[in-house]
């Protein structure tokens, strides 16, 4: 069960430690069902922290997103830890960053929050439109309880939960320095029914589906920036020399961008679904990521973001990897 009191107490303790720079958690957003990442600097901010089915942001992103400015001459780099609150999926992002040496273990303090699934805001805001005042939302068994301005509403989980959560196998952090409450049962079996359905279509059907989706891309790169695994300092999309993908937004360049983005996550995507959540034009990005995740899992029995000691998928191999497609 979510215990906000305990969460705030631990947050206070953590952020007061000498070796912790700040803590990244969630806070109530500015309106309606929105939640915002909160960067907590001192214990007095503990009351702002929340944990609810609205906390979909994957905070592990900020571990690699924060710009590293050059340290002024004569000063020491700040080597204190960054404390971060993680759900099950987010913890896999942290592990994968550790596998890739994107972050150092001794620079992070991981606070685990077992999670019973987060909401799909699009579904929620469609169900309860036009709500401005902040709403409290809680888990209650297989229901979600909304405390709306005009009363309390119970909604079955299946109606409002994010798609990724309905088949989630890792609701509990796979790695943490401290776990805030009891582990929860996993919601799904991690099936790939949706992927299989797409696989069965013929090339024309597949392309007409993706053509539609790719052509609406406006290249805001939100999917790239929100991804905890997208942290190359020099991204191929920003490079001019060589310029593999033109800046123009059209079906050709957008497809190239989306394929490159998805492929870059092959064997790395931990299926937190953030890319799909943030997309302002509703491209089903997870369908691409999940296709690759499925192949990696089924053909190579590999899952990213579970064992910090494992080797990255694409920089390892087995001599007997499948090669039936090779001529």
């Amino acid at each position: 069960m979510v215990d906000l009191e305990k969460m705030r107490t631990i947050a206070k303790e953590t952020v007061s430690r000498d070796d912790v720079r700040y803590l990244i958690g969630w806070r109530q957003g500015t309106y309606g069902f929105r939640v915002s990442p909160h960067f907590m600097k001192g214990p007095e901010e503990a009351e702002k922290l929340i944990f609810s089915p609205l906390c979909s942001n994957n905070l592990a992103t900020y571990l690699t997103l924060t710009e590293k400015l050059p340290v002024p001459r004569g000063e020491q780099p700040d080597s204190r830890k960054i404390a971060v609150m993680v759900k099950g999926c987010d913890s896999r992002a942290v592990v994968q960053q550790l596998i890739e040496k994107g972050i150092e273990r001794e620079r992070v303090f991981v606070i685990g929050c077992p999670c019973e699934g987060v909401l799909d805001l699009k579904k929620v805001e469609e169900k309860f439109p036009g709500i401005l005042s902040p709403v409290e939302v809680e888990w209650s068994g297989d229901k979600i309880i909304f405390t709306l301005p005009d009363g309390v509403k119970e909604v079955p989980k299946g109606e409002v939960l994010a798609k990724k959560c309905l088949s989630c196998r890792y609701p509990n952090p796979v790695m943490s320095d401290i776990t805030l409450w009891d582990e929860v049962k996993s919601l799904g079996d991690g099936n790939y029914e949706d992927v299989k359905e797409m696989e069965e279509k013929n090339p024309q059907e597949k392309w007409s589906f993706w053509k539609d989706k790719f052509s609406s891309c406006i290249r805001c790169y939100s999917c790239r920036n929100v991804c905890p695994m997208c942290y190359c300092e020099d991204c191929v999309l920003d490079r001019l020399n060589p310029q593999w993908i033109n800046r123009s937004a059209n079906i050709s360049e957008n497809s190239a961008f989306q394929l490159a983005r998805a492929f870059h996550l092959a064997g790395r995507c931990i299926e937190c679904g953030e890319c799909e959540r943030v997309c302002p034009v509703d491209i089903p990005l997870m369908a691409l990521n999940r296709k690759l995740a499925k192949e990696v899992r089924e053909q190579y029995e590999f899952e990213p973001g579970l064992d910090p000691e494992s080797k990255p998928f694409q920089s390892s191999y087995r001599p007997n990897d499948k090669e039936d497609f090779i001529l």
């Binding site: 309106y31 710009e67 539609d212 290249r219 805001c220 033109n246 123009s248 959540r277």
Partner: protein
């Protein structure tokens, strides 16, 4: 020219008349995304929506636009074909107002032939807003749900019919061309339109008193609020690409076989690469400086240059931000900061 009335069952024929005369642009769903796209006379008009995801600026300032073409290793420069006459139907007053704000920039000092060329040949038929979204705050920045700035014709949905109000010469001509399908509007119609406008204005639930903000911003340059409000920022381009007044662009060359073009495309001040020097030096190295620039550009620099806030309060940047960075909240903090 006086206001007229268009019965809703004649909307289809109105659309057909417009589409025959000029290239008609209307909000169309591309997947689940509403944006302005060219349509033909047979389109079934659907004007019931709060606002499009992509603003109407995309018609006069497209995401990608060819500046000129050339052949590789040759020196002749070929200009793109001239602009077609266009009509935009269903534009919300905030988007139209944004166009008139951006006009300032593109006609400042040097005229921008591409933007102004499109703008001059575009007739904007607006539809007064009756269902403001949760994050609309147009009335705080000088607009309103029935603002007419930037519009050539304003439609108001009266239920069974539209009240059609031509506002400019261009708009009058357009209405005259479709003259026969209109009915005369009674004073009752005018009154009920006025009442609907007021009701819509009352529905706007968010607001901010913007007076004093432009004057206050310069003093907050080194303030801690910029770090505070940009902590959660992802540095993506949603807020700027979907902003109806954001007008910054990049210019690039593209080559296809032996043909090439120089084109411009939307760019975002939230991208690190936007200001990056070739030397590797970046005058705006972190999201803090970029956020500060974005707010200052809209609420300070633009005001200094053109005496108008470069924000129309459409609320898109608030609704679409993946991490709930809320421009009203930032402005509130600016007001409260010492």
């Amino acid at each position: 020219m006086d206001s007229m009335k268009l019965s809703k069952d004649k909307l289809n024929s109105f659309v057909a008349i417009l589409a025959e005369q000029k290239q008609l642009y209307m909000p169309q769903a591309e997947g689940e995304t509403l944006k302005y796209s060219p349509v033909n006379a047979k389109v079934q008009p659907d004007l019931v929506f709060s606002n499009t995801a992509v603003p109407a600026k995309s018609v006069v300032f497209p995401q990608v636009e060819t500046l000129f073409r050339y052949e590789v290793e040759k020196t002749d420069i070929k200009m793109p074909a001239g602009e077609e006459e266009r009509v935009l139907l269903g534009v919300r007053p905030c988007d139209a107002r944004a166009m008139s704000i951006v006009d300032n920039l593109f006609s400042w000092d040097v005229d921008d032939p591409y933007y102004l060329g499109k703008r001059e040949k575009t007739i904007v038929v607006g539809l007064a807003c009756q269902k403001p979204g949760v994050n609309c705050f147009c009335s705080s920045v000088g607009g309103g749900p029935a603002s007419t700035e930037g519009l050539d014709v304003l439609l108001t949905d009266l239920g069974e019919s539209f009240l059609v109000k031509p506002l400019t010469e261009k708009g009058e001509k357009l209405c005259q061309a479709a003259g026969e399908i209109f009915e005369e509007a009674s004073s009752d119609d005018l009154n009920s339109a006025e009442k609907l406008h007021q009701e819509a204005a009352a529905l706007i639930s968010r607001s901010i008193e913007t007076g004093g903000i432009p004057e206050k911003l310069p003093g907050l340059w080194e303030s801690g609020i910029w770090k505070e409000v940009s902590n959660a920022c992802l540095g993506c381009g949603i807020c700027t690409f979907l902003c109806p007044t954001c007008h910054c662009f990049d210019i690039q060359d593209e080559i296809e076989g032996f043909e090439g073009r120089r084109c411009r495309m939307w760019d975002s001040c939230m991208f690190g690469e936007y200001t990056l020097h070739t030397s590797g030096h970046n005058p705006r190295p972190t999201r803090r400086e970029r956020t500060r620039n974005r707010i200052n550009h809209k609420y300070n620099y633009f005001v200094q240059k053109f005496d108008v806030i470069a924000c129309v309060g459409c609320g898109r940047c608030i609704s679409s931000c993946p991490v709930n960075i809320d421009i009203i909240e930032i402005l509130q903090q600016v007001k409260e900061a010492q």
